[in-house]
């Protein structure tokens, strides 16, 4: 090869190497760059306390979502908007705390609820927040063509006139009444002593600042250009697919937040968020259990954890085959080594649950946890077989939308356990739309689904168990058990009734109730007075983000 050719090749290679290697040298590392830029710009120099987080990473997140679309994303929404009532910090004490409402009380039969609103609450643009905004919000999201499915009020059809308005037969929701600027009254069709809990995702929207129709609620640019709420932070900027930035709301009723900037960076993938945390580009992200263990002894990070309040279970399809026979259901409970799965697969990051209810407050002390007993499982199956009830010829594919490695490991152990007692189950891992089609639209074709079900500490959806439920459960006891819960007038009565329901589910093994897993968030130790709780849908819960600050 001639010298000029060799020289050319060398130059090209050297250039390629330079492109790859000089960029970091020329580009200052993140901290240096921060300092350089801050010095060079007066505006930037003022920004001292900046917290960047992956607030929409994980199952409770809704990246670039808007309020009222699918019930998730509350970790971020609550920074800008405020619900009528909010859950406590740990989401578990069966305590609702003041937010827009400072107090609430029912009438004698709990059919009319009066919410006394906080004085001095202002929207980010300086306008006064009033009870009219709440009534307007309820009607805005419930408008017939809005196509909203999560209204912020659980079981909204309990509200007088809500159904008529939602179906276009009325001009207003008659049951929601503005008494004065600081008093909202809600009348119900039926007594509900715990209605206060049903409005903990009912965020107020500003009537005066929304200029789009309710049919555009999910498509309006307003959410990303000039959203106005009453939360501790207000909108600053949004870069599609990349981040949203907030700044302190000086008008916030509980004091101006300490941070100068709060930024939500969007990630498609949890791994990318974790690497961003480790590289110091962000200060917080949700992480799954196996990742959290890596950070356990690292002094540079603080770990936040809590139960997911989602019960993972085998959903038996009573519409088909053999599930009405308790012995078959209990054979599954005894046939699977739950304790080993919890200790060896979950590594202790999940808790066994005796029933559908994910709140330990309502778990009976004498509940059975169906110890692993393959002999007992075989015995139960044999007894059922003697009566002509067997699993032979039944499709035991188990569709699930949990597709993580952890879920695969869990179901593999279950498969091995069941094979030991002569039952061949076959887990099938599907994306959510496929799972919904398989399980919900083709109920005649499957027998067991592995899923998660959540709910509030003061509300409980009876649709799973009472008559005409979609799973075909025919157990008359459930109607009475749910009725007792509805009739409860005090917190203690309610607890007794709900615990009784749990006890019945536990004894009957109506479904295969397994565990409630723990979820995690990791923050840099540089973030002080920070709080995160992995609540279903991200909350909303009290996080006092106005106190967060950076060292």
């Amino acid at each position: 090869m001639s010298k000029p050719t060799l020289l050319s090749l060398t130059l090209i290679l050297a250039f390629a190497l330079l492109v790859g290697c000089t960029a970091p040298a020329a580009a200052p590392a993140a901290e240096e760059a921060d300092a350089t830029m801050a010095e060079s710009s007066d505006e930037m120099a003022e920004v001292e306390q900046v917290l960047i987080g992956g607030f929409d990473v994980g199952p409770g997140g809704d990246p670039q979502g808007v309020l009222y679309n699918n019930g998730a994303g509350n970790v971020w929404f609550v920074k800008m908007f405020t619900p009528l009532i909010i859950m406590d910090q740990t989401f578990s004490n069966h305590t609702s705390e003041a937010a827009l409402a400072v107090s609430w009380e029912p009438n004698e039969d709990a059919t009319v609820w009066t919410f006394n609103l906080r004085e001095g609450v202002k929207w980010h643009d300086g306008e006064d927040f009033t009870a009219s905004d709440l009534k307007w919000t309820a009607e805005f999201v419930a408008a017939p063509m809005a196509a909203v499915t999560h209204f912020g009020i659980s079981q909204p059809d309990q509200v007088m006139g809500w159904t008529e308005f939602n179906e276009g037969e009325a001009d207003e929701i008659t049951g929601i009444r503005v008494v004065d600027d600081l008093t909202l009254e809600v009348e119900l069709n039926i007594p509900n002593p715990r209605f206060y809990d049903a409005v903990r995702a009912f965020y107020a929207l500003p009537e005066h600042a929304i200029d789009f129709d309710s049919t555009e609620i999910f498509s309006s640019e307003w959410w990303f250009t000039n959203p106005i709420g009453t939360g501790p932070f207000k909108f600053e900027s949004f870069e599609k697919d990349q981040f949203m930035s907030l700044v302190p709301n000086e008008l916030y009723w509980d004091g101006t937040p300490e941070l100068d900037q709060l930024i939500n960076r969007y990630f498609v993938d949890e791994t990318a968020a974790v690497l961003a945390l480790e590289s110091g580009d962000i200060d917080f992200t949700y992480v799954s259990a196996d990742v959290a263990s890596r950070f356990a002894d690292n002094p540079d990070y603080q770990i936040f954890s809590g139960p997911s309040f989602v019960t993972n279970m085998f959903n038996f399809n009573y519409n088909n085959g053999v599930w009405a026979d308790k012995r078959i259901r209990q054979a599954f409970m005894h046939g699977i080594d739950r304790a080993s799965i919890l200790s060896d697969v979950f590594n202790g990051t999940a808790q066994a649950t005796p029933c559908h209810d994910s709140y330990p407050t309502f778990w009976p002390e004498d509940a059975s946890y169906y110890e692993y007993d393959p002999d007992k499982a075989r015995e139960l199956l044999a007894e059922a077989a003697a009566d002509g009830i067997t699993l032979e010829g039944i499709n035991l594919d188990i569709p699930t939308y949990y597709t993580s490695q952890l879920a695969k490991d869990i179901l593999t152990v279950m498969q091995a356990n069941m094979a030991d007692i002569g039952v061949n189950i076959n887990p099938t891992f599907l994306d959510v739309p496929t799972w919904r089609t398989v399980v919900l639209d083709n109920a005649q074709e499957w027998n067991i689904a592995y899923l998660g079900a959540g709910g509030g500490p003061a509300s409980y959806n009876p649709a799973w168990y009472i008559e005409d439920n979609q799973w075909g459960i025919e157990d008359p006891a459930y109607a009475d058990l749910f009725a007792a819960m509805d009739a409860a007038q005090t917190a203690e009565e309610y607890k007794v009734a709900r615990t009784a329901l749990c006890k019945h589910q536990n004894e009957e093994a109506t479904m295969g109730y397994w565990w409630v897993s723990t979820r995690y968030g990791i923050a840099s130790v540089d973030v002080e007075d920070f709080h995160y709780f992995p609540a279903p849908g991200g909350g909303p819960y009290v996080d006092r983000s106005q106190d967060w600050n950076m060292k």
Binding site: P24, V268, T271, A272, L275, Y401, D431
Partner: protein, 317 residues
């Protein structure tokens, strides 16, 4: 020109056929767009879902929906995303720009370095450099994209801190070309590894094949200097297979790279397609597929035309 026009006209029915097949496939897949509005862990009633389905016109028969969609597309309207109401054409315009930048840079690096190294080792068969670069090229070709991406991010961002951990710009700082290049370097570099290895392998093989031809021996025999033999007789004739490979790579300029975009939080077409499919966002999926099909057909046409430039013996009529 006549050939060009004929190819363009033939591509129109092909394009329509492609859209029919894709429309059919995406609609045959289980699930539908209303699933996006469901949080499985919170729940929703079937009636609510049916209402949303009706609201989006998903209760129309499939052929009716396709004809409506095609009618819109012919008028230049790709529709709106089910997921968030975004204008599909606008989303595509933004995402295409980002993906083009990422994939274009990776492709340019791949071609420049890969072809150069291919020539270099093609002229030195069985040398130390040949074995070294050939060995490395196997690593480059066989390493899965997500492994390369995570490895690159872990080493150069987490451990060394030389590059950012993803995204397209430094949050809180004004946009600048330098900042963009700073964020581009790592994902483009990761993607370039595969391109580079592929082009190097093809170039090496092609160079070796042409070097053994009679006309190369003749050129040497008539006393031409080695550079003239290499560039005028070997490289020019070795170009054809390389042009083919480059042409086949062109669609990736718009299709994006799923894993690399995901791991580097680079909001391009690959990540968009995954998002759209997961949400069963039919208008978005169709928009992406339409653009991709258009580019594939165009790239094939350009490749065919490029043959004539590379080899004057080739004439199209």
């Amino acid at each position: 020109m006549q050939y060009f026009l004929r190819r363009v006209l033939v591509n129109i029915p092909v394009l329509i056929l492609v859209t029919i097949v894709i429309y059919l496939l995406i609609n045959l897949a289980p699930g539908d767009p209303v699933d996006f509005f469901v949080n499985e862990e919170i729940g929703i009633t079937k009636e609510d879902l049916d209402f949303v389905r009706e609201r989006y016109g998903l209760d129309d028969p499939l052929p009716v929906r396709y004809v409506k969609w095609l009618g819109q597309v012919v008028q230049g309207d790709l529709g709106f995303r089910f997921k968030n109401g975004d204008d599909v054409a606008e989303v595509l315009a933004v995402r295409l720009r980002r993906t083009f930048l990422l994939m274009g840079t990776a492709l340019a690096i791949g071609i420049a370095v890969g072809v150069t190294l291919g020539i270099f080792i093609g002229l030195r068969q069985y040398s130390f450099w040949d074995f070294t670069f050939t060995g490395l090229s196997f690593v480059g070709i066989s390493m899965p994209a997500f492994i390369a991406g995570i490895f690159g991010l872990y080493v150069f961002s987490v451990k060394l801190g030389w590059f950012p951990s993803g995204g397209m710009r430094t949050i809180g700082k004004p946009d600048s070309l330098f900042d963009l290049l700073y964020h581009l370097a790592l994902p483009a570099g990761t993607l370039a590894i595969f391109n580079l290895a592929t082009f190097m392998r093809y170039t090496r093989f092609s160079m070796l094949e042409v070097r053994g031809e009679d006309y190369v021996r003749t050129a040497k025999a008539k006393g031409l200097k080695p550079p003239a033999v290499t560039w005028r007789h070997v490289f020019r004739n070795a170009l054809l297979p390389i042009v083919t490979v480059v042409g086949l790579s062109l669609p990736t300029l718009v299709a994006g790279a799923l894993f690399t975009e995901t791991i580097y939080s680079w909001p391009g077409m690959g990540a968009l397609l995954v998002d759209a499919v997961a949400a069963r966002d039919y208008p978005m999926v169709m928009g992406i597929m339409l653009v991709t099909a258009l580019v594939v057909l165009t790239a094939n046409l350009i490749t065919d035309l490029a043959y004539a430039v590379a080899d004057p013996r080739i004439r199209y009529e």
